[in-house]
Symmetry: C2
Subunit: 198 residues, 2 copies
């Protein structure tokens, strides 16, 4: 686009963002150019602030400002129920359901021998330490329902069950509001197997 | 999402960007959190830099660093052909065609009496001043082919034609690679009217 060097630099940086292609980068760059300085710089400042202030919760390894995240330090949460997720971003969708009142543990990945990710690359030792140092009644393994996630869940279940802790996994089945006709056979098979009395 | 305050602030700022909804904002925020600091801060710095260094070209009112933009100050461009566009962002698509070797003039809007935008709100006086101070053989009015753009083009043509300058407008017609069947009737009508000898 024959852009001035500083505009080109901004475009390059914007295009690195996930889901932002050349067209969106250009739209965002024009927005930043057009908008008043104070507003545009608020975004720059927010990036600085987040990189300075956010670290990992020393208990669950979610993102946090300070030693413990809001969830781990909340008196309203049941410390006896731990929901294990692969990534910090998996916490938000579970929180939005509003049905889980326990705490989390973020593994920061899933077992994937092909990519060289074994148990030592994940926060598994830290999870076992939590289980031995506090009263935990249930571990819900909410890793993704894909090959790596299932393998990780099976591995963790084998480790945790001998400790006398209940190990569960969110149900697979038909999406609510979905259509039986359009369900893939694996999902529908799981839904049939997991059928409940009504 | 029960986010730490600095993460929430980043999400808020990201959601202000055009084309970035809550989901994309979250994806981008997690990317910024995950990526190493130097890379994330390069984006923040690029925003700062662009707001500090970019102003308007004093000749054509495109974005520029310094008094004149790259196009106006290029010896390779024909200063006798001026392509008039509504916004700086309209220059990039024309440049990409590679067929135009003249210079530009950015109006910063289009006539729209409903929105209170008359000739005085646009860089029209500045365009007329350019026409009187330098040898210009053709003005191509490349405002958008919508109501405001057409009105602006008609208004400019009436002003400029008496100066003995050729006034043109990019052709309307069928998109190359398009399908006659799917063309809207106004576009197809324009294409028929503007038919060329082959």
């Amino acid at each position: 686009m024959n852009a001035a060097p500083s505009i080109q630099k901004l475009l390059d940086e914007l295009e690195r963002l996930p889901g932002v292609g050349p067209k969106s980068a250009q739209r965002i760059a024009y927005y930043i150019l057009n908008t008043d300085s104070s507003q545009a710089l608020r975004l720059a400042d927010a990036i600085h602030e987040v990189k300075e202030q956010v670290c990992f919760c020393q208990i669950c390894f979610n993102y946090a400002e300070g030693d413990a995240c809001d969830i781990c330090s909340s008196a309203a949460r049941d410390q006896g129920q731990i929901c294990v997720v692969s990534e910090p971003k998996d916490i938000a969708p579970i929180e939005r359901t509003g049905v889980f009142e326990g705490v989390y543990h973020v593994l920061h990945g899933a077992l994937s021998p092909m990519d060289g990710i074994g148990p030592d690359e994940l926060k598994i030792a830290e999870l076992l330490r939590r289980l031995s140092s506090q009263e935990v009644t249930e571990v819900i393994i909410a890793t993704n329902p894909n090959v790596e996630g299932e393998a990780t869940a099976a591995y963790l279940a084998r480790l945790i069950r001998p400790l006398g802790v209940r190990v569960t996994r969110p149900a697979s089945g038909l999406p609510v509001g979905g259509d039986l006709e359009y369900a893939d056979e694996v999902t529908l098979g799981r839904a049939m197997e997991g059928r409940l009395e009504i």
